[in-house]
């Protein structure tokens, strides 16, 4: 009369084990689910009943109670449909308890009895502490990534019951589609000219410094940004696992060998909602773009076109490296350590940012740039202007080094950061930075001049210093940061919106 089935539920990107206890008793026919189910989980009652009936399996006209233990943990989504159905079949004697012994079940049921894939199978399977797992066919490859688990797949309830009884064959696992090599991306070697912009990409990659590219359409902003993931080193093992869990939790395809090893590239459209950017949403909780880009690059093209409210929600994750999403009754935490690259036109007319480059009234420009708040602009350690290359300059421009060549310098610079206890210099706090990067006297004077002229804030000063350190690392230089490195950091940090002033300045 009582059956217990092993399953799991998803919180953010981690799975939590759940025991589905099904009790069938005499009394008025009823079907109750207790133990903090969310709306979609409560609806399981209707799906389970329809699926059983469509599969020609009996629906006991009795009092059914499903308890989801531990009861204090909220249960989300439809992943518990299949375990409830199996538990019910055991509780009313259609299956022997021994036939489900040592197995965990995950999957959503269709009204026709089909077993449908669910997001987050990797962390879910990882959470269930039994030797064997039964998952939907489409999730089979992903579930098999957990090494010590025996994985069975099923594509409908009827077939599953026969297989469990030993009267039928198990479904055949789907062979994972060979997806293109993850994070390959285009090569830096294809970029002609734009040597300064390429250098900015190299510094961004080496120090994990956020980068803002400002320039008119046709200046190659996206083309440049797209090459950034190719400069980054492979993800560290724990980072790779986190990135994989996020992708799994979002229900997106994993690479062939299962693990996301290369830094991801995400480029949400400027129409993206705050929920799409940082996660959450009105239905099932889902990680947002900033988490899907974890360990890699988040590219915001046309930064000026994003809703200011959407950009505002990105500030906290950029600061903390994680994002916490709360909704009535539930909250989840997703990793969100990204390298942010943004691109924007200097003016809505598509003209150039050059002085005299367009003739929009200053009020039009002011309204456009006000969409980028000061605190957001502050997040970009690197800000450079790019322009449509002059054809003559293009012809004489040296063709680029390959991503592999640049990537080697990036890796060696990152190696020096690791010796300081961080992944990259962008993560050094002011105290650590002071210790790691003392300044020469001339460098101090130069920075003081910037401070006094009001062109640099205290926070800005810290960021300039960390960029200067990254440049030193790329050049393989040791010792106190000299003024030339500070100049480079300042040269990579323009004020992209400064307005023309009267002849007097």
């Amino acid at each position: 009369m009582l059956a217990t089935i092993h399953a799991a539920t998803l919180h953010g990107v981690s799975g939590h084990p759940v025991r589905v206890e099904v009790h069938v008793a005499d009394g008025l026919p009823a079907f109750t689910v207790v133990g903090l189910p969310d709306a979609s989980c409560r609806e399981a009652r209707d799906r389970v009943r329809a699926a059983l009936e469509s599969s020609g399996l009996p629906w006991p006209p009795r009092r059914i109670t499903v308890n989801l233990a531990p009861t204090g943990v909220p249960k989300a989504g439809s992943v518990l449909d299949l375990p409830m159905a199996v538990g019910l079949l055991v509780a009313c004697g259609e299956l022997e308890p021994g036939q489900v012994d040592g197995l965990g079940f995950l999957g959503e049921l269709g009204l026709d009895g089909s077993i449908r894939p669910v997001p987050g199978v990797l962390p879910l399977v990882d959470a269930v502490e039994v030797p064997g797992m039964v998952v939907p066919v489409a999730n089979g490859a992903e579930a098999a990534l957990i090494d010590d688990r025996r994985v069975r797949v099923a594509d409908d309830l009827r077939g599953l019951v026969l297989a469990l009884r030993g009267d039928g064959e198990w479904a055949t696992p789907e062979v994972a589609e060979p997806s293109p090599v993850d994070g390959g991306g285009p090569d830096m070697g294809d970029v002609r000219g734009q040597r300064f912009a390429r250098f900015a990409l190299e510094v961004a990659a080496a120090g994990a410094h956020h980068l803002l590219l400002v320039g008119p359409p046709g200046a190659g902003k996206s083309m440049l940004a797209r090459r950034l993931p190719g400069l980054l080193p492979d993800l560290a093992p724990d980072e790779a696992l986190q990135a994989t869990r996020v992708r799994s939790a979002a229900g997106e395809a994993l690479p062939v060998d299962g693990l996301v090893r290369r830094p991801p590239w995400r480029a949400p459209h400027h129409g993206a909602s705050p929920a799409a950017l940082v996660g959450g949403g009105s239905g099932t909780m889902r990680p947002g773009e900033v988490s899907l880009a974890h360990g890699g690059v988040l590219f915001l093209d046309e930064l000026g076109e994003f809703a200011p409210s959407a950009l505002e929600t990105l500030r906290q994750p950029l600061e903390d490296g994680t994002v916490r999403v709360s909704r009535a009754g539930a909250s989840a935490e997703y990793p969100a350590r990204v390298l942010l690259v943004a691109a924007m036109n200097p003016c809505p007319c598509g003209g150039s940012a050059a002085p005299g480059g367009c003739r929009c009234p200053s009020t039009v420009r002011a309204r456009y740039v006000r969409r980028i708040s000061g605190p957001l602009l502050d997040r970009f350690d690197l800000r450079i202007a790019v322009d449509r290359p002059d054809p003559v300059d293009l012809l004489s421009g040296a063709s680029g080094e390959s991503s592999a060549d640049v990537g080697r310098r990036v890796a060696s610079a990152r190696g020096r950061a690791v010796a300081r206890g961080v992944d990259a210099n962008g993560a050094l706090d002011p105290a650590a930075l002071r210790e790691a990067a003392p300044l020469s006297e001339a460098a101090v004077r130069r920075l003081e001049a910037e401070l006094h002229a009001g062109r640099l804030s205290a926070r800005g000063l810290h960021r300039v210093r960390s960029v200067a350190l990254t440049v030193a690392d790329l050049l393989g230089r040791d010792g106190p940061l000299d003024v030339d490195l500070v100049e480079v950091a300042l040269g990579l940090r323009i004020d992209p919106f400064r307005s023309e002033v009267a002849g007097v300045r």
Partner: protein
């Protein structure tokens, strides 16, 4: 005795004129039609009874009743002497069409300002025989345009030319800045679109005060008038009317400076334009003017030459403004300076032209910026003329 009477009568006229200018919805064109040779006192008293000339009446059209009613009400509630006292206390001087001190150049203007307010003691102080050159251009100028405007302003002022401009940001401000830099130069004249107590744009406050101190600022708008959409085009016609010659330093293809050009051509004033790079949007308007027959202004001599053709006093010979020749620059800095034209470019372009690696390029640019030879705006680098203060 009669002199005293005349002076007293002039004061009465002046104070009524100031009161008329201050009426709501009273623009220069309406005021011209209202006065049309009449004594300001008569016009004021006419309004008190709701009477206006036919020409103004037909110009007001359907809004006539409403506007005249508002004027009549305002006239009834205004003590002319009080209004005058406010203006007098502000230290501004006032002149009107035909009165002593009214600029002679505007007497045969097709749309002369009826009244002119001025900073300082007199509207037309010392303006009788000095040649005047208007220097105008875009607010959104390049460093090239700015430095040319400064050089022209300085050289022309040094040659005894009164530099006339609109005190807007960009080229206007640069021209005045140059004029103020000349040693013993002729005083600059600014014509503004707001009341003289409303500094606009406020970014120009310093310059505004220096022009007021060393030269004059004129306006046809009464004290307290803020900027409006039509006040700047209206101001441009006075700039064109006051000057013997108009020089456009930089203008976009359809820039506001071209309105000043049209006003100058209406008044038979020669127009010169400074040539610019064909790729620079800020020079598109000037290059078009040149193609259409405007004389090129490649230095102060070109402008002075036109003035002497007009029979204006001959001037000392000056060399064309040239960029300062920098000494003892580093090798890389020299390469960058040679690669840098007068049009603004991003560092990518300089890297391509010089072949310098980024770190060396930045060091060279830093040296040039430190020497005041290069200026950076929104990530774009330009050569800088001698305007540095």
């Amino acid at each position: 005795m009669s002199g005293e009477h005349a002076a007293a009568a002039e004061d009465v006229q002046r104070s009524h004129l100031v009161a008329l200018v201050g009426l709501p919805d009273m623009g220069p064109a309406r005021l011209r039609l209202l006065l049309d040779g009449r004594d300001p006192v008569d016009a004021w008293e006419g309004l008190r009874r709701g009477r206006i000339p036919m020409a103004l009446s037909s110009r007001l059209g359907r809004r006539r009743e409403e506007v005249v009613a508002r004027w009549t009400a305002t006239v009834a509630g205004t003590v002319v002497a009080e209004r005058w006292a406010e203006v007098a206390a502000s230290g501004q001087s006032v002149s009107w069409y035909g009165a002593p001190g009214y600029p002679a150049a505007l007497l045969d203007d097709p749309e002369p300002p009826v009244v002119l307010f001025a900073t300082g003691g007199s509207v037309a102080e010392g303006a009788a025989d000095r040649p005047r050159v208007a220097i105008v251009g875009t607010r959104r100028c390049t460093a090239y345009g700015r430095s040319v405007a400064v050089e022209l302003g300085r050289s022309l002022a040094a040659a005894g030319v009164e530099v006339v401009s609109g005190l807007a940001i960009g080229i206007d401000a640069a021209a005045h800045l140059g004029a103020l830099r000349a040693t013993d130069g002729a005083p600059p004249i600014a014509v503004v679109g707001t009341g003289l107590d409303v500094v606009y744009p406020s970014a120009n406050r310093d310059l505004w005060e220096r022009v007021a101190e060393h030269g004059r600022i004129l306006s046809e708008m009464p004290p307290g008038s803020g900027p409006t959409r039509w006040c700047f085009p209206a101001r441009n016609r006075i700039v064109a009317g006051l000057a013997d010659v108009l020089v456009v330093v930089e203008s976009h293809a359809e820039g506001g400076s071209l309105h000043t050009v049209a006003a100058a051509l209406d008044r038979d004033r020669p127009v010169l334009a400074v040539p610019g790079p064909i790729r620079s949007p800020a020079s598109a308007g000037c290059n078009r003017l040149l193609a259409e027959g405007a004389a090129p202004a490649c230095g102060p001599d070109d402008v002075l030459g036109v003035l002497s053709l007009l029979g204006r006093p001959a001037s000392p010979v000056l060399s064309a403004g040239e960029a300062p020749e920098p000494a003892d620059l580093g090798t890389d800095a020299r390469r960058v300076l040679d690669a840098l034209g007068w049009d603004p470019v991003v560092p990518d372009a300089l890297a391509a032209r010089t072949g310098l690696p980024p770190v060396a390029l930045i060091a060279a640019v830093a040296e040039l910026t430190d020497r005041g030879l290069v200026v950076e705006t929104r990530g774009h680098l330009e050569r800088r003329g001698e305007e540095r203060s």
